[in-house]
């Protein structure tokens, strides 16, 4: 990790927006926006995600870091910029409840990594499958907080099979963190322990490795 990346990570953990912006502006003089995203922003978010998984950072820091990075990346790489990553059609949703923070964090981390995705908000199983089918979604990210919602992912997977549009399902949230069998039990294709796992999972799907 470069000294610049270390300082950037520290600014994010301290929720120091001004310092984070200053460091990005300095780095932007020597790197293209995509290089900056790949070499400074994504690694910092990945490391903060790892710290959270180990219990050395808090969810509030993961959330604020994602938000700050999303804002910074929108400044250097606007949503309609053609330099944003070539990617499969993706969407994210929360199944069944109003615990939206996990979805918000994953959304921010993916956008900060140069991805674009649709945000379906809070949906039921049927709403989710219908929206994903209509939008021809290839990667469907589902966040849950409650065990019964996590178990309903099985219904989503079965309905996707019935509808035959072949979206890959990636799950995340507390129930999956507390039971590492659960994502397989419900038929998901992958599980992210933290938001920072998701860009790699999406890359793996894009590269045919998953």
């Amino acid at each position: 990790m470069t000294n610049m990346a270390r300082l950037f990570e520290q600014a994010l953990l301290s929720v120091d927006r001004l310092e984070a912006r200053r460091l990005v502006e300095v780095a932007a003089k020597e790197q293209t926006p995509l290089e900056l995203v790949d070499h400074m922003i994504v690694p910092a978010l990945t490391r903060i995600g790892e710290l959270w998984e180990r219990g050395d950072a808090a969810l509030s820091q993961v959330y604020m870091s994602g938000r700050i990075c999303e804002e910074l990346v929108d400044g250097i790489l606007p949503p309609d910029d053609p330099r944003r990553k070539d990617q499969p059609p993706m969407a994210i949703a929360v199944l069944d409840d109003y615990h939206l923070l996990g979805k918000r964090i994953v959304h921010a981390v993916l956008r900060a990594g140069g991805f674009e995705l649709k945000d379906y908000g809070r949906v039921t199983v049927d709403e989710l499958v219908n929206k994903a089918k209509n939008d021809r979604i290839s990667v469907l990210l589902i966040s849950t907080l409650m065990l019964h919602s996590a178990l309903h992912v099985r219904d989503v997977v079965e309905k996707i099979k019935i509808e035959g549009f072949g979206a890959r399902v990636v799950v995340g949230g507390a129930p999956f963190r507390f039971d590492d069998h659960l994502w397989r039990d419900v038929g998901a294709d992958a599980m992210g322990l933290s938001a920072s796992d998701v860009p790699d999972i999406v890359q793996s799907i894009m590269g045919g490795r998953l």
């Binding site: 959330y63 069944d96 409840d97 939206l100 923070l101 178990l151 507390f178």
Partner: protein, 348 residues
């Protein structure tokens, strides 16, 4: 297997005094399972205090555990403030769209009147009825959401974190309103017959906010609030980590702390010994697929790690057993506590 010689109340009070009772107490924090017991939907079950009373009595008889739990569902307080509750056929009632839609609404918040609010009056009535039926044989555990954690349901997690970090003045105002309500709600339950109050405070956990933020926010809130509650409080972080703030939790005046399976129970017990009792730490999510043998082994390990010396109650790590956990598993947990939890703990 040796005979048990204490009532649940004696067993629990002995362990809370950091002494060894006849066996390790067991709190199976079952809520929705009462609906299964009465053969009704979760929504119908929580409609009436009498259902919950009957459910709790039957569940205690079935599992032979050591408490009665008057926790209806997490958003009962949000419902009292005018928020929406969403029922599911196979999970706990959940809070709907947050009712604080703009931060400025905080200036106009008026706490609900407990006696005049049907959902709260129902909990009070259930507590009174349970107390009348069980007397002093078994502790009745009442529940409040901490003033520091309630805003997740009042205004949504994202907006609450923004408020906490970016608008400290308004945050403090919300805390003061919530604190007054929390104290009144806890004391009403104690007056109705609750033995202790479970103070759910997941946001206090270092899993959610860094200790430095907790110290200047949730810690002060807890110290002010618990100091005004007229009964023993048990702070529960609902599956969040606790070790980095264990001494802070002790300083807030909590008598018990609910701990998570993500931390080593031996380390937790070492940090808590003689200062605060430990409640936990069986993984409630994994529990849905445990065999009886796995349940036995998980309970045995927990008792070996935290049982010696007292100051330990076996429980799940979240404060509510999920609906998907089958009866057979809960029965196996009860049997395991009776098999491995007799003092002195052998093999410890």
């Amino acid at each position: 297997m040796k005979k048990e010689s204490m009532t649940s109340m004696q067993r629990v009070l002995t362990t809370l005094g950091h002494n060894e009772p006849d066996r390790v107490p067991l709190f199976l924090l079952v809520t929705m399972h009462g609906a299964k017991e009465l053969g009704m939907s979760i929504k119908d079950y929580f409609e009436k205090a009498e259902h919950v009373v009957e459910g709790q009595i039957r569940l205690r008889a079935k599992y032979s555990h050591d408490c009665l739990y008057t926790f209806f569902y997490a958003p009962v307080e949000v419902e009292a403030w005018g928020g929406e509750v969403i029922y599911a056929p196979d999970g706990p009632p959940n809070s709907g769209r947050p009712f604080i839609s703009s931060a400025d609404m905080i200036n106009r918040l008026i706490p609900p009147d407990i006696k005049m609010t049907p959902c709260l009056a129902k909990v009070i009535k259930a507590t009174q009825l349970l107390k009348a039926r069980t007397g002093d044989d078994c502790p009745i555990i009442g529940v409040v959401m901490s003033p520091f954690s309630l805003p997740v349901m009042q205004m949504g997690f994202e907006h609450y974190l923004d408020l906490m970090i970016e608008r400290p003045g308004l945050f403090e105002k919300l805390m003061r309103v919530n604190e007054d309500f929390c104290v009144e709600w806890a004391n009403a339950q104690l007056a109705a017959g609750a033995t202790a109050i479970c103070y759910f405070d997941p946001i206090a956990s270092p899993t959610i906010v860094p200790r430095e933020i907790f110290i200047r926010t949730g810690f002060e809130v807890a110290r002010r609030t618990l100091g005004r509650i007229k009964g023993p409080p048990a702070t529960h972080l609902a599956s969040g980590r606790v070790l980095p703030i264990i001494n802070d939790i002790v300083q807030t005046g909590a008598a018990v702390v609910g701990v998570s399976c993500v931390e080593n129970l031996t380390d937790i017990k070492a940090a808590c010994r003689g200062k605060i009792s430990v409640l936990g730490n069986l993984n409630g999510i994994e529990m849905r697929r445990w065999s009886a043998k796995e349940a036995d082994e998980k309970v045995r390990q927990a008792i070996l790690q935290a049982g010696p010396g007292g100051g330990f109650i076996v429980s799940d790590n979240h404060g509510e057993i999920p609906w998907a956990v089958p009866d057979e598993t809960l029965l196996a947990i009860g049997e395991a506590v009776r098999r491995h939890g007799i003092y002195p703990i052998s093999g410890a």
